[in-house]
Structure formats: structure tokens, C-alpha cells
């Protein structure tokens, strides 16, 4: 289990997760920098993500959509607010409509990732997700809920089958 710690701050509405990987920071950075690798981890297997644009630079934009088992799609857009290869990146995460246009009436969430060397060929990654309001958090959870539940169920199925 790569996750070392998680911290939830109800007052600040943040979720912080620290994980450690057996790879150097340049390699872990690739997970974020290479859209083909992003596709392998951003969405759950039941809702795989397809990245159509990925400009990992301050002010750069990333576009992606996720495809559900019934063919439903959910699109999103990132705008990078800070990028410092290979140690940190931060972006605002927006919802997009079916045309890939940023949706104005959906709240934005903020995400940052920091990569620190944790010794020989080891990297510590700190992810912070910040929300603007409980209402927004609720909206996002409701949208992601189905996907998260399906994912959990499929994992349990796999365990039982194994």
C-alpha cells in the first residue's frame, strides 16, 4: 500500500494524501506529464479517462473525458496554476459540457501535487484537494458517487473471484 497518510480538514475543506513510490521523482513526474500514463490512473477501470489535450505549463490547459460502462461521458478541464518539473504542479479542475466547453455554473476545485525525493529511488507524493464549499463538495460527490461505488463494487467482485 503506497498511501502513508491521509488528512481531512472539515474546517478548511481540504483532503491531503501522502503516498510513497519506489521510483525516482523524474519517473513519478511522468505519471503526470505523459497523457497516456494519466489515462491509466486518473479514471477508475469502469470509467476510463481519455486525454485530448495536455499542456503541462503554467497557464496551460488539459482536456479529458471519462467514458462510463453505458457509454455516458463526463468531461473535465484543468488549468495549470503552477508547474515546476519534476517537483510540483497545481491546477484548477473544471467541469466541461459535452462540447468540451468549460461549464460556468459548476464549481471549480483546486488540486496540487508535490513530489519529493525520499531517498534512493523513492518518491514521496503529497496531494492536496481543496473545495470551495460544502455545497460544491456535495455536487461533486453526487456526480462522482456512482463512479466511485461502481469502482468499489468491481474491486470487491475481483477480490471474491480471486
Amino acid at each position: 500500500m503506497p498511501v502513508i497518510s491521509t488528512d481531512i480538514d472539515t474546517g478548511e475543506l481540504t483532503m491531503t494524501l501522502v503516498a510513497e513510490f519506489a521510483a525516482d521523482t523524474a519517473r513519478v513526474w511522468q505519471l503526470w506529464a505523459d497523457p497516456r500514463q494519466l489515462e491509466r490512473w486518473w479514471g477508475p477501470p469502469t470509467w476510463p479517462a481519455t486525454f485530448t489535450a495536455h499542456d503541462l505549463r503554467p497557464g496551460g490547459t488539459t482536456r479529458y473525458y471519462m467514458t462510463g460502462p453505458d457509454g455516458d461521458t463526463a468531461a473535465g478541464e484543468w488549468e495549470f496554476t503552477a508547474v515546476d518539473e519534476p517537483s510540483s504542479l497545481a491546477f484548477d479542475d473544471y467541469f466541461a459540457d459535452e462540447n468540451g466547453e468549460r461549464s460556468r455554473d459548476m464549481p471549480v476545485s483546486h488540486m496540487s501535487a508535490e513530489l519529493d525525493s525520499a531517498g534512493d529511488e523513492r518518491t514521496r507524493m503529497t496531494i492536496v484537494t481543496r473545495f470551495e464549499s460544502i455545497e460544491q463538495l456535495q455536487q461533486l460527490t453526487e456526480m462522482g458517487m456512482e463512479e466511485g461505488m461502481r469502482e468499489a463494487v468491481s474491486q470487491i467482485d475481483a477480490l471474491l473471484a480471486g
Binding site: 511522468q30 460544502i134 453526487e142
Partner: protein, 120 residues
């Protein structure tokens, strides 16, 4: 998980209430065990009336409830509201835990990528 809808007004109140350090501190103090307003006010370098005002703001945001106990007013955290925020954040924690596990799988599967690999 069933989450009650919050109106915009309720949400605004909630965040206004939590925007103040003293009010966040009050919520933390009364999380486990209720405390009277007078005992609470002895914890801060402000007047009883000022603390009472803070408690009233928290009450309107449904973060605390007051119970009468003889002549004292006991302040308790309204755990339902806090729990709701916490449950929502936990959902995102689960999402990220799964992502991190997938990241680990990729790292275990793949040799490091170099630019040379991308050349046709």
C-alpha cells in the same frame, strides 16, 4: 450515503461561521463534550458577550446546539453538519487512494520512459 441538500443560504452561513478562528476553536472544544457559555468565555481573552455572539453565529450555521441546564446554557457541537462535510471529503480520499494504487501498478509494470521510446 444520503446527503441532505444544503441551500445556498445555509452554505453561506456555514462558511461564514467557520471563517473565524475563534469560532473554529469553539467548535473543536465542544466536539467531544458540551461546555457552558461561561466556561467557554473563560478560555478566551474576550468578553462573555463576545463569546455569546460567536456561539450564536455557530448556532445559526447549525454547527452547535445550545441546551438549557438549570441556569446554564450548554453548547454542544452539531455533529451532523460536521459529519456531512467529513463524509464528503472521505469520498474524495477513497477516490485518490484508488488512483495512487493504480499509479503504483503503472510504476511496477513499466520501465522508465525516455524520449527515445517515443520515436517511431
Amino acid at each position: 450515503m444520503v446527503v441532505d441538500e444544503l441551500t445556498q443560504e445555509e452554505t453561506d452561513r456555514l462558511f461564514l461561521a467557520l471563517a473565524d478562528a475563534t469560532r473554529r476553536d469553539i467548535v473543536e472544544r465542544v466536539l467531544v463534550e458540551g461546555m457552558s457559555v461561561s466556561r467557554l468565555s473563560s478560555q478566551y481573552a474576550m468578553s462573555f458577550a463576545a463569546v455569546q455572539k460567536h456561539v450564536a453565529v455557530l448556532e445559526r450555521a447549525h454547527l452547535v446546539v445550545k441546551q438549557k441546564n438549570g441556569r446554564e446554557q450548554i453548547v454542544h457541537a452539531d455533529v451532523t453538519t460536521l459529519r456531512r462535510a467529513s463524509a464528503l471529503l472521505e469520498h474524495f480520499e477513497t477516490l485518490w487512494r484508488q488512483r495512487v494504487n493504480r499509479m503504483e501498478d503503472i510504476l511496477a509494470d513499466d520501465p522508465p520512459q525516455t524520449d527515445a521510446d517515443d520515436r517511431p
